[in-house]
């Protein structure tokens, strides 16, 4: 699937660029974006090292286990195939919590650990299990409680009340996450038949 999207983005982009005489720009874009990928990856290294370091303390002290116990019923319902107490459960929870509070880099670090753990219990390697699909579907529905970047932007452009959108964004985010879980579950059921 990503194969096709990646192909279409590159193919249509270059073709359209050639037809409209923008090929010169494309050369620069390739160099810039390749560098940007490395720069961004390296800038993630420090923060991800920090978050996984801190969380390793919380893991060893039993704090994460205590927190995941509270949310266990919810996790059991959404991810029935993940065994209770499996590390995937804890990393997913950490990812959701970091996402909710807008700690983007932390969320990425925990999410990558979660998908790795989910893959370790995936019966068909190379094919996304229901749990992996559901985990990403929830992630892609946005969980962030307060959209700080947007509020900052609204403030910069002289909004009368930049925080006006918090209420409806919270409503929209909650609805979109509920919709995502329902749709994910519907696809899971269809797959079984």
């Amino acid at each position: 699937m990503i194969n096709t999207i990646w192909f279409l983005l590159v193919f249509i982009g270059i073709l359209y660029g050639a037809l409209t005489g923008n090929l010169g720009d494309i050369n620069n874009i390739i160099i810039d974006q390749a560098t940007e990928g490395v720069t961004f990856g390296i800038s993630l290294m420090g923060v991800m090292a920090f978050w996984l370091g801190i969380m390793n303390i919380a893991e060893k002290s039993g704090l994460i286990r205590a927190i995941s116990k509270v949310f266990r019923p919810l996790v059991r319902f959404i991810f029935p195939e993940v065994p209770a107490n499996h590390p995937a459960e804890r990393w997913m929870l950490m990812n959701f919590i970091a996402n909710m509070f807008g700690v983007g880099n932390g969320a990425t670090a925990f999410g990558l650990k979660a998908i790795k753990e989910l893959d370790s219990i995936n019966p068909h390697k190379g094919k996304a299990s229901n749990a992996m699909a559901m985990f990403l579907i929830i992630n892609m529905s946005s969980l962030q409680l307060v959209p700080l970047t947007v509020i900052k932007l609204r403030h910069d452009y002289g909004s009368r009340n930049p925080t006006d959108i918090i209420g409806i964004t919270l409503l929209a985010t909650s609805l979109s996450t509920i919709v995502a879980i329902i749709i994910g579950k519907m696809f899971e059921r269809r797959r079984k038949c």
Binding site: A49, I115, M140
Partner: protein, 176 residues
């Protein structure tokens, strides 16, 4: 109040975790460095994915193919009476987070942050995620090729949530 939470959340978490670990007699220094090494490895491993994603999206946007796509889709959305000012945002949001933020900036500066367009764009930006980036990064990191129903389900729920956002911005804030 919001500022306090956003500034305080990380230091708060860190202090709670460090105190809890120390009181439970965890070797907190060793635990930290062990986890940090894991974090470095993870970040290093995803760099190829990041390069691939950034280049593809860069080419697609830079060649103005994105603008062509918007022109292609706009007759359909006009028929659906969908607010066409935010259409570029709807199309770019699943592909690129920074691109989407740029579009929100355009919309806000053009129509004003408190206009219907400005509000709708802000809410949509705040209540959605970058689908392509997330999928390519996470599935790429574990080498999963067959994504099953992930993309279909994510796009379907994205489309539904776009209509939810348009609806609630219009009715809850502007009563029109």
């Amino acid at each position: 109040m919001l500022d306090i939470i956003s500034i305080g959340i990380v230091p708060f978490l860190v202090i709670v975790i460090v105190i809890h670990g120390y009181l439970k007699n965890v070797d907190i220094y060793d635990a930290f460095t062990e986890g940090a090494l894991d974090g470095l490895k993870t970040a290093f491993r995803i760099i190829p994915n990041l390069i691939a994603i950034f280049i593809a999206i860069g080419i697609f946007r830079g060649s103005k193919a994105m603008d062509m796509l918007i022109d292609l889709v706009s007759p359909v959305t006009r028929y659906l009476r969908f607010p066409e000012e935010i259409l570029p945002l709807v199309l770019i949001r699943p592909l690129s987070g920074s691109g989407a933020l740029g579009v929100v900036k355009d919309i806000i500066s053009h129509y004003g942050p408190d206009s219907l367009q400005g509000i709708t764009a802000s809410v949509l930006m705040g209540s959605s995620e970058t689908i392509f980036y997330t999928m390519a990064l996470y599935f790429g990191s574990v080498g999963v090729k067959d994504h099953g129903h992930t993309l279909r389900a994510a796009l379907l729920s994205y489309i539904i949530s776009v209509f939810i956002v348009v609806f609630i911005s219009r009715y809850l804030l502007f009563n029109i």
